[in-house]
């Protein structure tokens, strides 16, 4: 054990003698976390909603009130423009969608519900269906809000009741009994609107259409509190990846330079040498995780929901990548080939695992494919400690998968090394 520690210390000494290594193992992950943390967090002075073009062809009082409602939404940034310019902006990718309010949009109450002719048109990028659906929801919400405002206008309501009454009275396809019921309702509603005093009208018709009781409860957040809770686990993965590749290359280097053979000549076995390498990789990964954790805690006050779970996850993730390190060192016989192949393999794993693009933005088939990536399970496990707040039982599956991947890669790597040395 003492010799394994000497071997590990030697590797750490070599690692820290190279400024390039220090940057890629510590600096790069920290910069990654900071950069994307700030990007995802946005800026307080700038609106961060979806930017859409809005074409008002209706120019009515209703369309103006509708547009101001959309504009007041935090989820949207409305840019008024002409139809051609709006379509062109979407086509060239400058804006994600254009909303066109056609003539007659605000003239009649029914236009909002009619299926015959749509008075609102959405032109959007077909590759961004998820955002398009989200936009439709926001538009519908604004439409109902605009409609609710109309109900507070007593004259507008009485005019419309008059129109609806005439329509029912003149309709041939409604039987007499039904027609009588509707007409009776419209007459009674019109009398109510006419006779009710202003105070009562304001009390019962103004404001929300539905009366909700609200109770302030300090709720439990399901998602992350800050964007750094997402970027720091990702940054930790990048740091651990850097360590895995660096130490894999150092094994190849020992073999090409002859120091591996020289060590094998001593009274220690191959297991000692590789054990030392694994220990050094493990210690460095622990340094990386601690460095990022302390930085995130001190500078960004990063909340960690479940510290013991986070530590357990970090240990399992590191063990997994120590195992992968042993496999990567067999991918090439020179430092260049092993490093290139190792980074290529880990890049694919990282892309699939959500280390570059969050999984939520991936198509469903790619999300299914991501199950094979240890990066996905690593990020999931670290996030579980940082903000997901899973129970230990829920964590068993990802942690067991990580340990299984690490152990398999380690054993496979050792067997390949043995075969290559024969």
């Amino acid at each position: 054990m003492k010799k394994i520690l000497f071997l590990a210390l030697k590797d750490l000494r070599i690692l820290f003698s190279d400024k390039g290594n220090i940057f890629f193992v510590f600096g790069f992950p920290a910069l990654f976390a900071l950069f994307f943390g700030f990007v995802f967090a946005g800026s307080d002075s700038q609106p961060s909603g979806m930017k859409i073009a809005l074409v008002d062809q209706d120019k009515s009082e209703f369309s103006s009130s509708y547009i101001s409602l959309l504009d007041s939404s935090e989820a949207l940034r409305v840019v008024p423009m002409g139809r051609d310019e709006a379509i062109d902006s979407v086509r060239t990718g400058k804006l994600f969608a254009a909303v066109i309010l056609k003539n007659g949009f605000g003239n009649e109450f029914e236009t909002m519900f009619t299926k015959d002719e749509s008075r609102i048109e959405i032109a959007s990028d077909p590759s961004r269906k998820m955002e398009s659906q989200y936009l439709q929801g926001l538009l519908a919400k604004a439409q109902f809000q605009a409609m609710a405002e109309k109900f507070t206008d007593r004259d507008w309501m009485r005019n419309n009741i008059g129109d609806w009454r005439n329509e029912v009275a003149n309709a041939n396809d409604i039987d007499e009994k039904q027609s009588g019921l509707f007409l009776g309702f419209f007459d009674a509603f019109d009398r109510l609107l006419k006779d009710v005093n202003d105070e009562n009208f304001q009390t019962h018709f103004d404001g929300d259409m539905m009366n909700f009781a609200t109770t302030d409860i300090s709720r439990e957040r399901e998602g992350p509190v800050t964007s750094f809770q997402i970027t720091f686990p990702q940054a930790m993965i990048w740091g651990i990846l850097g360590c895995a590749v660096t130490f894999a290359i150092s094994i190849v280097q020992e073999r090409t330079k002859g120091t591996f053979e020289r060590l094998q000549l001593g009274p220690i076995g191959r297991a000692h040498i590789l054990g030392g390498k694994g220990t050094a990789c493990f210690i460095t990964c622990v340094f990386v995780v601690c460095f990022l954790y302390i930085g995130a805690k001190l500078i960004f006050k990063l909340p960690i929901r479940n510290l013991p779970l986070f530590i357990l996850a970090a240990v399992c993730v590191i063990l997994c990548f120590v195992g992968l390190m042993m496999f990567i060192c067999t991918l090439g016989r020179t430092e260049q080939s092993a490093g290139g192949a190792g980074w290529a393999m880990l890049m694919v794993m990282t892309m699939l695992g959500g280390g570059m693009v969050p999984l939520v933005f991936m198509p469903s088939w790619l999300r299914s494919l991501s199950h094979i990536s240890p990066v996905k399970w690593s990020i999931f496990a670290l996030e579980a400690g940082v903000w997901r707040n899973l129970s230990f039982v829920e964590m068993i599956k990802p942690l067991a998968l990580l340990l299984a991947i690490g152990a398999t890669a380690f054993m496979f790597g050792i067997s390949m090394l043995r075969r290559q040395d024969k």
Binding site: G258, E261, L265, G266
Partner: protein, 302 residues
């Protein structure tokens, strides 16, 4: 001390060693001389257990398994490659390898100091090995194997690519090790090195040992006669007497004589005794290069 019997090793279809047998005595420097690809490094790797022989036996100090920890502790191998950590200083390299051999405390300190002195690196011991010259790296590479004071040393071309000064220092170190009674196996493709250092030499080619003996005996046996050309102070009056004394084929050209002999010193002594006085003398003796040419039909550096 070291006994190798009928050693065979193949790499796929390539025969690296074919029925190799030799023996090196305690305190002897035994050379393996051959061109690149002759099988010298394979032999060294088999001796120290880095490779496993297809057949044959190796006996090191009475033990037949070089993988045993006791056997490995008795071996010091200087690899052909510069197997040192360039990121560490010379001192740190020695400390690290010393610890790997279980050295510690004052003994480790003493051995590191001794080895640094032996390699002529004491003054630059705290510098990164990467900043050393090629010769300094070679010397460090060599003394890293002496740290644990092994009785058997296996040196695989330890002077490749070094300057003459470092080469001499390495030779002196090896001769010093021999004086201490260590058994040394020395591989080289430089016949001058084998001639200077080795008590006995095995001529190795294509994995086979062509002959083993002392350098002198090998030259005598395979090198052919020495060519002697002498300028005399005065013309010989009785050339037939000299012919009978030395060789029937001796040639006389005014005051010059030319002849070939396998025993040049003996012949010159005879001439001197019979009253012949030389004004100049040129002796061209055979060397291991000639031996190799005779045995294999090609030159060492072909």
């Amino acid at each position: 001390m070291i006994k190798v019997e009928n050693l065979k090793k193949r790499f796929g279809k390539t025969v690296a060693l074919d029925d190799v047998s030799f023996e090196a005595m305690k305190g002897e420097i035994f050379g393996l001389l051959g061109p690149n690809g002759a099988g010298k490094t394979t032999a060294i790797k088999l001796l120290c257990g880095l490779l496993k022989a297809d057949s044959g036996t190796i006996t090191l100090d009475g033990r037949t398994n070089p993988r045993l920890v006791e056997v490995r502790m008795s071996l010091g191998m200087v690899p052909q490659a510069l197997a040192i950590y360039e990121e560490l200083s010379g001192r740190e390299n020695l400390q690290f390898f010393g610890r790997m051999y279980g050295l510690k405390g004052q003994y480790l300190k003493k051995r590191v100091k001794d080895c640094l002195e032996l390699a002529g690196l004491s003054e630059r011991s705290r510098e990164r090995a990467g900043n050393y010259s090629g010769g300094m790296k070679r010397r460090l590479n060599m003394v890293c194997s002496f740290l644990h004071e092994p009785p058997i040393l296996l040196l695989d071309e330890p002077t490749v690519g070094v300057d003459p000064q470092s080469r001499n220092l390495i030779f002196e170190t090896i001769e010093n090790m021999k004086r201490q009674g260590r058994t040394i196996i020395y591989t080289t493709h430089y016949m001058e090195e084998a001639q200077r250092l080795c008590d006995r030499v095995a001529i190795l080619d294509h994995g086979r040992i062509m002959d083993i003996d002392s350098v002198e005996n090998l030259i005598t046996r395979h090198g052919g006669p020495s060519h002697i050309e002498a300028e005399l102070e005065e013309k010989l009056t009785e050339p037939d007497k000299i012919r009978r004394l030395i060789d029937e084929n001796i040639r006389f050209e005014e005051t010059k004589i030319k002849f070939q002999t396998t025993k040049p010193l003996e012949a010159l002594a005879k001439l001197n005794k019979s009253g012949v006085r030389f004004s100049s003398l040129k002796i061209q003796t055979a060397n291991l290069e000639d031996v190799f040419l005779k045995l294999t039909g090609r030159r060492l550096r072909d």
